[in-house]
Symmetry: C2
Subunit: 342 residues, 2 copies
DNA sequence: ATGAAAGCGCTAACAC
DNA sequence: GTGTTAGCGCTTTCAT
């Protein structure tokens, strides 16, 4: 494998000149620059990542802590994972994916061994041991999702409250007065998960303002259990004409329940929800509603992280960014004016 | 950050002794070993990945090329991605996730810069530019999925032919004589994708042996399009009593179509298919059928790759491993003896 | 504008 | 069983 010394020798110049020609950190005559570029091509030289790492103590790798646990929805999780990977590349970074228990237990190793330059954490819960660990780490870290307690780290989340309010208001404007909200699992409230609490706050506020009566049903990731629950709720509340879906995973069982009850969407039942930027068709019909801005969120998270990596000296206060997108409604034809249900 | 020299100095020994105590590549007296371990803990020493990489020319990182294109099913893709990441850790490797265009265009960079020690490629198509590139690369690579043409690389796939035959035979044994097969998209056959061709071969063979009449419907990732197609097929072939689902993404639209036609599963319609090791409840009802051995496949792929990385000198012929699992049927209650459809 | 040389943290051949 | 030392490939300060 040819190294920077081979290139230098080939041209009879010093290694530093080649190095500076590549990095641009010192002026190099245009003629020399051209000769170096030619030699690099001729000798097929690629700078070694290992040598570079040792000299600069930068790896150009971002670590992504993605537990991918039971209650993660695969299509949603993949959007975030892919989003981080793509955003990293736009800054010249690669992404090290750390899943399962290692996402919790491997943090010290990654930080202390200097495997990565910074960390992005997915699915952070409030009792998450990673929180304290990342706060105390010598490496920058960004959380995707806002924990309940204030945290000494950058965080990026969507505006769940606006999203909830927007969905309710949309149904209200179509004349719906009774709506079902397929909300977060009960555990999410017990743990005071911000997304659950704030979404509910938005829903509640808009519902009282717009005079819509809400029945909330907690929905998890188990298809059959959700199907039964939703089915029973639709039967039990037969004045309901609209449904709000907070979580991707609730869409499929809802569609199944509606089908079984021969409720046409949107004629008999208006459905609005939060759906991914990139629709997962396997999950079911894409819904009218607000987007889950996974692309904007991951891009922002990586931007913040790279900023801290590149300006390791600067002291920035923790930033809690709320990404736009929850306010705009995308019409995919699953809502219509309220009618009395048959 | 404390380094190996600090530890050595602290004990008044040489750096090599510390190094060897850690790697075990040279005998170290038990007493010395204990003193070193203590010092390491006391000084909170972690070996630097960068120094190690430069000295050993090993990064302990496996690259995962995952295009995650349009026709990838998110839940399936995530199983493979997560499987590779977990398997890598069992060998002490981390996983660098490379998605999108970079999964194609970044191969040279990863290889030549020595960012990773080896590569695993997902979703390899026959005209895939990565094939030639990986065959010519100086780094070991393993394909998840068997390309049509013989290839100078290790490959790991499941036995699609056995899977197809097993599913047909299962329906036949329950007395079904007319079955729908929700197969691969048309394009998969045009491109001679091995999984499509071999699954169909297994289905066809078993169907003729067991005297089952098959109607095959190509199904892609678009929910609405699939729903219409499947609905029409169930209506058009009203003697069909069993359905075989090749691909996860066909399950949701099938369940929706059956619901709309008020066909109960399994009473009116027996459904069998290929489902993930880790059943994704969010996708819909888990199906009776053969498993998609994503765990075994990724484990095997990483095993093969690590073997080549560790024994870089050994010359092994390319190995095409076919993972078991397609032959065993898992009953999840979605099939039943054939009855005449109402 | 360019060169010389020290050093990043570790391993492993060579000595004893 | 342990020590010495020459690299691995690059950057960057100090000279010129």
């Amino acid at each position: 494998m040819t190294n920077i010394g081979d290139v230098a020798r080939h041209l009879g110049v010093s290694r530093s000149t080649v190095s500076y020609a590549l990095s641009g950190k010192r002026p190099v005559s245009t003629e020399m620059k051209a000769r170096i570029d030619a030699a690099i091509r001729e000798l097929d030289y690629w700078p070694s990542a290992a040598g570079l790492s040792l000299a600069t103590s930068r790896r150009n790798i971002i670590g992504l802590l993605a537990p991918l646990g039971e209650n993660a929805t695969p299509s949603v999780a993949l959007q975030f994972v892919d989003g981080v990977a793509r955003s990293s590349r736009t800054h010249g970074f690669d992404t090290l994916l750390v899943t399962g228990r290692e996402a919790f237990e491997g943090v010290e190793r990654l930080v202390r061994a200097g495997v990565v330059d910074g960390l992005v954490a997915l699915d952070v819960e409030n009792a998450d041991p990673r929180l304290a660990e990342l706060e105390g780490a010598s490496l920058p870290a960004v959380l995707l999702g806002q924990p309940a307690r204030p945290v000494q780290l950058d965080t990026v989340d969507m505006d769940w409250e606006v999203a909830g309010a927007t969905l309710v208001r949309h149904l209200a404007e179509l004349g719906h007065r009774r709506a079902l909200v397929l909300g977060a699992p009960e555990a999410a409230y017990t743990m005071e998960m911000t997304y659950a609490v704030r979404f509910r706050a938005g829903v509640t506020r808009a519902a009282s303002e717009a005079d819509v009566e809400i029945t909330e049903i907690p929905v998890g990731n188990d298809f059959s259990a959700s199907l039964t629950k939703i089915h029973d709720a639709l039967v039990g509340h037969n004045d309901v004409t609209g449904v709000i879906v907070q979580h991707e995973a609730a869409a499929a069982p809802l569609l199944a329940a509606a089908g079984a009850l021969r409720l046409r969407i949107p004629e008999d039942l208006a459905v609005a929800g939060i759906t991914l930027d990139v629709v997962d068709h396997a999950l079911g019909r894409p819904l009218t509603g607000v987007g889950n801005p996974s692309v904007a969120m991951t891009r922002t998270a990586v931007d913040l992280l790279v900023e801290r990596i590149v300006h390791a000296d600067a002291v920035l206060p923790p930033r809690a960014v709320v990404v736009d997108g929850g306010g705009e409604l995308i019409d995919r034809g699953t809502t219509a004016p309220a009618q009395r249900r048959r």
